[in-house]
Structure formats: structure tokens, C-alpha cells
């Protein structure tokens, strides 16, 4: 993490937009919600980090070289097309795009998971994929109305 969450909030309040949206911090947080629950001021920190990710993706200012944005994009594309995610394909795709050598390293684990029936290469999907894609298209937020309210609220 280049900036702690406390510092990120300070940067937003000071209007340091440039450094805030280029920070790698939102991409390293686990979305475990501990901070949101513990915060004595009830600041929705997890929601804030998600909002920062949305802004960074929109403005293409997310950090390169980190696996998280790559995996997130792969996950979103997979779910948008098939309605379900398949862990094995997601992992393979992420490693191919970020660190192919890891595939070799983890091949043994993958094989063991498969032997135990905990991983398979069969791709999951909902029955009517066209319906799901139509639903997501209908719900998609147009660029003109991008919700940045959480970040604005912190100011």
C-alpha cells in the first residue's frame, strides 16, 4: 500500500485527486469490511475504496502490473457473458496475463484440487445467457451518471 486508508481520506479532503486515483491502495484492500464495521465515525471505507476503483477504471488510471485489476476485469467479463464464474479459468487467465511462470508453479496444486473434485475445467453458465446479457445492458450505468457520491461525501 502506498497510502493508508486514513491518508487516502485526508488526500480526498484536501482535493488531491491526482494522487488519490493513482494510488494502489484501493486495489490491495480485501473487501472484508472490517474497517467499515470498526470505524468510530461510521465512514463506509470499503464502499469508498470501491468507488475509487470505479473512478480509476473509468479514467484508466489504475496501476499496471498488479494482478487485481486484471483478475477483476476477467471476472466481470466472464460473469457478464456467462452469468457464473469458473474459478479455474479465472486463475489461468490471470496468471497468463500477469505472471505465466506462476502457472507452472501452481500446476501441482491445480492437479491435486482436480483429483479431489474441487476444481474442474467445465465452464459454468446460466441457461439463458442472452437474457442475462440483456439485463446487464439495461442496468449499465451510463457515463453521464457515474456514481461518485461516496467519494464526494468524504469531502
Amino acid at each position: 500500500m502506498d497510502h493508508t486508508p486514513r491518508r487516502i481520506i485526508g488526500m480526498i479532503r484536501e482535493g488531491d485527486r491526482e494522487h488519490t486515483i493513482h494510488s494502489i491502495t484501493p486495489w490491495l484492500r480485501a473487501s472484508c469490511y472490517s474497517c467499515t464495521v470498526e470505524c468510530p465515525k461510521q465512514i463506509p471505507i470499503t464502499g469508498m475504496m470501491h468507488a475509487l476503483r470505479r473512478i480509476a477504471l473509468r479514467e484508466q488510471s489504475y496501476p499496471t502490473g498488479l494482478p487485481v485489476p486484471v483478475m477483476e476485469r476477467g471476472f466481470v467479463n466472464m460473469v457478464a457473458k456467462r452469468g457464473r464464474s469458473t474459478e479455474s479459468w479465472l486463475a489461468v487467465r490471470m496468471y497468463l496475463k500477469t505472471a505465466p511462470i506462476q502457472l507452472v508453479k501452481h500446476a501441482w496444486t491445480g492437479q491435486r484440487l482436480m483429483r479431489r473434485g474441487r476444481m474442474s475445467l467445465g465452464r459454468e453458465s446460466v441457461r439463458d445467457r442472452a437474457q442475462l446479457m440483456k439485463l446487464l445492458r439495461a442496468a449499465e450505468t451510463p457515463p453521464s451518471r457515474v456514481p461518485t457520491s461516496v467519494v464526494e461525501g468524504a469531502r
Binding site: S31, C32, Y33, S34, T36, V37, H50, R53, R54, L57, M71, E72, F75, V76, V79, A80, G83, R84, S85, T86, E87, S88, L113, R116, G117, R118, M119, S120, E124, V126, R127, D128, Q131, L132, K134, L135, L136, A138, A139, E140, T141, P147
Partner: protein
């Protein structure tokens, strides 16, 4: 009480042990959990990081499918096994309940594909169901004697993933 089991994408994969325990315990306790037909991914935290409305739409489709199981006004509870799914579905449910603008947008998207959500489906977590619907007393009295596949101990240890026991989360009062 009508329930539907929402497995999510990893229950038949890496979380197989959890699914085995959950279903074994459910059967012993007679919770009537059976899989929601044609469920879709909840979007996890990744979709919320890209587009909130699309994440809510994914959640809303599952809620609408759950409701279509029971006609009329009766509530019906989708039980989301994985903490991430539980949280994502709950966020969709709450955002629609609390923000009229969100509800209108998502209702419109559902309508475009012939689905409808009335607000009868209330997302539950297995621990919530076990503690608040069935009750610890009944479990200790007649509880499962570790059915094959793991049983209560495995269910409780795997279900208690970090984020599920947050006090702010509706219904989970453990």
C-alpha cells in the same frame, strides 16, 4: 418459512466441503434448503468495483427468481452460503429498499427481461438461519450427530468467514 439455497460459484468447486456440511446439517434440521434454479453469480466485490447498478441487477435477478418460487405475499428467504455472496445480495436488497432511485432503475432492468422483484425475498446467512430460525436449544436437544460429510462443526467453522459476523449486517446477531 420457505427457503432457497443459493450456492454461488465456488460451492461446487473449492468449497465442496462446506457445501457437503451445509446440506447434511440442513437435511437433519429439516430446513428445506434446495437449490435455486438457474441462479447467477452475485457479482462479488469485483462488479461493485466496476459498476454498482450492474452488480445490483445480478443480485436482483437472484432475488426475483427466489420470489417466483412462492406466489402471493409470503416471504421467501434465499440462503446465501458464501460470505461474499451473502454480502453482495444483501447490498442489492438493501440498496433497493432504501434508495427509491436505485429501485426504479433496477426494476426497469428486470422488467426488460420479464422479471419482477417485490421485496419479499430477504437474504439470509446459514449461521443466521441456524441460530435465529432453528435455535441453539433445539440443536443441542436433538441436534445432528455429525452426519457424514462433516456436520455442524465443519459448517460452523467454514461458515464463520471473517465478514459474515459483522454486527452491522442485518439478521446476523451472533
Amino acid at each position: 418459512m420457505t427457503r432457497a439455497y443459493y450456492p454461488g460459484c465456488s460451492m461446487s468447486g473449492t468449497e465442496r466441503a462446506y457445501e457437503g456440511s451445509l446440506l447434511a446439517v440442513s437435511e437433519t434440521l429439516g430446513t428445506g434448503l434446495n437449490e435455486l434454479d438457474d441462479w447467477n453469480c452475485c457479482g462479488a466485490s469485483a462488479l461493485a468495483s466496476v459498476d454498482e447498478d450492474r452488480a445490483f441487477a445480478l443480485g436482483a435477478r437472484n432475488l426475483a427468481l427466489t420470489e417466483s418460487r412462492v406466489q402471493g405475499e409470503a416471504p421467501v428467504d434465499p440462503v446465501a452460503a458464501r460470505t461474499g455472496c451473502y454480502r453482495a445480495l444483501l447490498e442489492a436488497e438493501r440498496s433497493m429498499a432504501e434508495q427509491q432511485a436505485v429501485a426504479n432503475r433496477i426494476d426497469g432492468a428486470l422488467q426488460a427481461v420479464g422479471l419482477r422483484y417485490d421485496g419479499r425475498a430477504r437474504v439470509r446467512h446459514p449461521i443466521d438461519m441456524v441460530v435465529n430460525d432453528i435455535g441453539l436449544e433445539r440443536i443441542s436437544r436433538s441436534g445432528p450427530r455429525d452426519p457424514p460429510g462433516g456436520g455442524m462443526k465443519t459448517l460452523v467453522t467454514t461458515a464463520r468467514a471473517a465478514a459474515s459476523i459483522r454486527p452491522g449486517f442485518k439478521g446476523v446477531r451472533t
